[in-house]
């Protein structure tokens, strides 16, 4: 009996420790984000206050108004940056996904010479930190004249994302049994139809996750963009954040407001695609 009570007590204690651990982890993850959102609505005085003011006294939209207002301190060409970011991220994501699907499918389905080597080679490119490439890229882009253009940024991000999308999509296509495409071909599909009507829908959760990751990478990237963009023609939002620093002041509130603006599309996209992120669609079609 005593033994039983002992185990019961241990279970309760473990449950509590679990909850506390989870709470701490969630704090670490969420507080910075919440702090940014909160600060974007607070006057600079309150943001800078020491000791920090945890519970805000005064919430207003001043930073947003200033940011969009286009005059005076804190005004930044926000909409231009937003458009730049959107064009560059969406285009590079679409291209990276198309290449990733073609490449991932090839790696998952076909045998060819040097397959292992090529795959490792693709992965190795991911091992090089992006910043290390910024100088060579800068020189290269300057020579061919695509510094500070959308094309240049799109190229850089496609190159950055393709190895990753190939790797991720390859993994998902590997889970789709080849018999599905064979069954489709016997059912009257061409090779192409079999891919689009059967294999792609089954693996689309993988394609969707690759898409989100590629989009977020380009959307949030700073190091390369800060080198390869010069002006409002191609500056993206992360680079735009620097506009809030001047020689003597740092406009924290404005920066936070722009950061919130950056977070929103990413959040919306994640919510839209999240149902596809739940993998496991492939189970059931074949013996599980």
């Amino acid at each position: 009996m005593a033994n039983n009570t002992n185990h019961q007590a241990r279970r309760v204690a473990l449950k509590w420790m679990h909850s506390v651990g989870l709470f701490l982890a969630m704090m670490v993850l969420c507080v910075p984000g919440l702090w940014i959102v909160l600060n974007s609505f607070r006057p600079t005085v309150e943001i800078m206050a020491k000791p920090p003011v945890w519970i805000p006294n005064d919430l207003n939209l001043d930073h947003y108004r200033a940011m969009f207002g286009g005059i005076g301190e804190g005004s930044v060409p926000v909409l231009t940056y937003f458009t730049n970011s959107l064009i560059i991220s969406v285009t590079s994501t679409v291209i990276a996904i198309l290449i990733g699907m073609a490449g991932g499918y090839a790696f998952a389905r076909y045998k060819f010479k040097f397959k292992g080597g090529i795959f490792v080679g693709l992965m190795v490119t991911r091992a090089v930190p992006g910043v290390a490439l910024s100088l060579p890229l800068f020189i290269l882009f300057a020579r061919i004249g695509i510094i500070d253009t959308h094309i240049g940024m799109i190229l850089a991000y496609v190159a950055m994302n393709v190895p990753f999308t190939v790797w991720l999509i390859d993994g998902f296509f590997r889970q789709v049994p080849p018999e599905l495409a064979e069954a489709a071909e016997i059912d009257g599909c061409t090779r192409w139809q079999a891919f689009w009507r059967v294999e792609f829908p089954v693996a689309r959760s993988g394609v969707a996750s690759a898409g989100i990751f590629a989009f977020l990478t380009s959307w949030n990237e700073y190091a390369l963009a800060s080198q390869l963009t010069r002006s409002t023609t191609s500056k993206t939002m992360p680079v735009g954040l620097l506009d809030f620093t001047s020689e003597f002041t740092l406009n924290w509130g404005g920066m936070c407001a722009l950061a919130v603006l950056m977070i929103i599309p990413a959040l919306i996209l994640t919510f839209l695609v999240q149902k596809h992120l739940i993998a496991g669609l492939t189970f059931g079609g074949v013996k599980g």
């Binding site: 018999e179 489709a184 071909e185 016997i186 059931g284 013996k287």
Partner: protein, 361 residues
């Protein structure tokens, strides 16, 4: 409906030849089972008929057309896969109707065909479910339904029952046979299970190492195996094989014991042979009516018994080798007990000791 003809069909992967120039003619409406141990080339042969594997040599004809270079969709076949290969993102109804939808048939026609197939396979209550929500047997039926909706010329089955548990397998076996009787279509069926082959086939094709060993009706291959491989592969338990030499009309085994040679063989003294006898033809005296006129009696010690209800398998030592015998109308037998067995010589087989080829003329 159509015949299928294989003429000198070869399959090579690079330099490795896995199917060696096989010939086979399958009649219209015939149920042919390709059977053999794994790696014997039976699935590869089926996939060549389906168009999923390129044919390295020879011709495959379906009906009057050589289909070697036709893609699967133009061969008018349908196939049931071992793992069912149902489309997981479609409901049962969409799975069944997929092939008709691809060929752009009108919706009413698709609905009618799907309902008909669902009726035949009792899938009607499941039509709106996704494959993930079905049991193994139900998935198997959907896979068959997908195959019959299109009324193809030839049905191909690639080990369709091997993922099911034993009970369901027996049940589905009967359903497949009924389906064949109803549709009267040409079926090529691949399995490694000789029981499935025996029960389903009009004709069995036994394959080994990329060669066809024997083609015949189930009873024919059971009663007249052309070599020791077929003898041991078909029938359960496998045929007992004992090596010996011919001496004065008897077979003398390695340990010196002898048994009368089966009748009807043309034997010469000193010839090395393999003596083959099935468990059904070694029975303890008084436990079944002896079959045939030529009976030899041997006394053997029983080492082990396997009671199966209607019969008991007895493991005994004959000429230094373990043989399996059968006891109908079983009574309990203790290990170590010595019993007199009758060997029905008319049903025994002799094979060449070296090549394993049957000696019967």
């Amino acid at each position: 409906m159509a015949q299928v003809h294989l003429r000198d069909v070869v399959k090579k992967y690079g330099v490795l030849e896995v199917v060696h120039s096989i010939n086979l003619d399958i009649a219209d409406g015939e149920f042919v089972v390709l059977v053999g141990p794994s790696g014997c080339g039976k699935s590869t042969t089926l996939r060549m008929i389906a168009g999923l594997e390129a044919i390295s040599g020879g011709d495959v004809r379906i009906g009057d057309t050589v289909v070697n270079d036709l893609p699967p969709r133009e061969r008018n076949i349908s196939m049931v896969f071992q793992n069912y290969a149902l489309y997981p993102h479609m409901s049962v109804r969409e799975n069944l109707g997929f092939s008709l939808k691809i060929s752009k048939r009108p919706q009413e026609e698709i609905d009618k065909a799907v309902d008909e197939a669902a009726e035949i396979l009792s899938l009607t209550p499941l039509l709106d479910r996704k494959p993930g929500a079905l049991s193994g047997g139900q998935r198997q039926r959907v896979a068959m339904g997908r195959a019959i909706v299109r009324h193809p010329e030839v049905f191909l089955f690639d080990e369709p029952l091997s993922n099911l548990d034993a009970k369901l397998r027996t049940q589905m076996r009967v359903e497949i046979k009924k389906l064949h009787q109803k549709l009267k279509s040409t079926i090529v069926y691949v399995t490694h299970d000789q029981v499935e082959a025996m029960t389903l086939a009009d004709r069995i094709v036994i394959m080994r190492d990329g060669h066809i060993e024997q083609v015949g009706t189930p009873l024919d291959v059971f009663e007249n195996p052309v070599n020791t491989f077929v003898g041991t592969f078909i029938g359960s338990p496998p045929m007992n094989l004992l090596d010996g030499t011919v001496k004065n009309g008897n077979i003398q085994f390695a340990d010196g014991s002898t048994i009368t040679a089966p009748p009807g063989y043309d034997l010469s003294d000193g010839q090395a042979v393999t003596f083959g006898v099935r468990a059904d033809n070694i029975m303890p005296v008084g436990h079944a009516l002896p079959r045939g006129e030529h009976i030899a009696e041997v006394e053997l010690e029983v080492n082990l018994t396997e009671p199966l209800g209607t019969e008991t398998l007895l493991f005994a030592t004959l000429a230094g080798a373990e043989v399996q015998a059968k006891m109908l109308n079983p009574r309990p037998v203790q290990a170590g007990e010595r019993l007199t067995f009758q060997v029905m010589l008319d049903r025994c087989h002799l094979f060449d000791a070296e090549t394993g080829v049957a000696l019967k003329v």
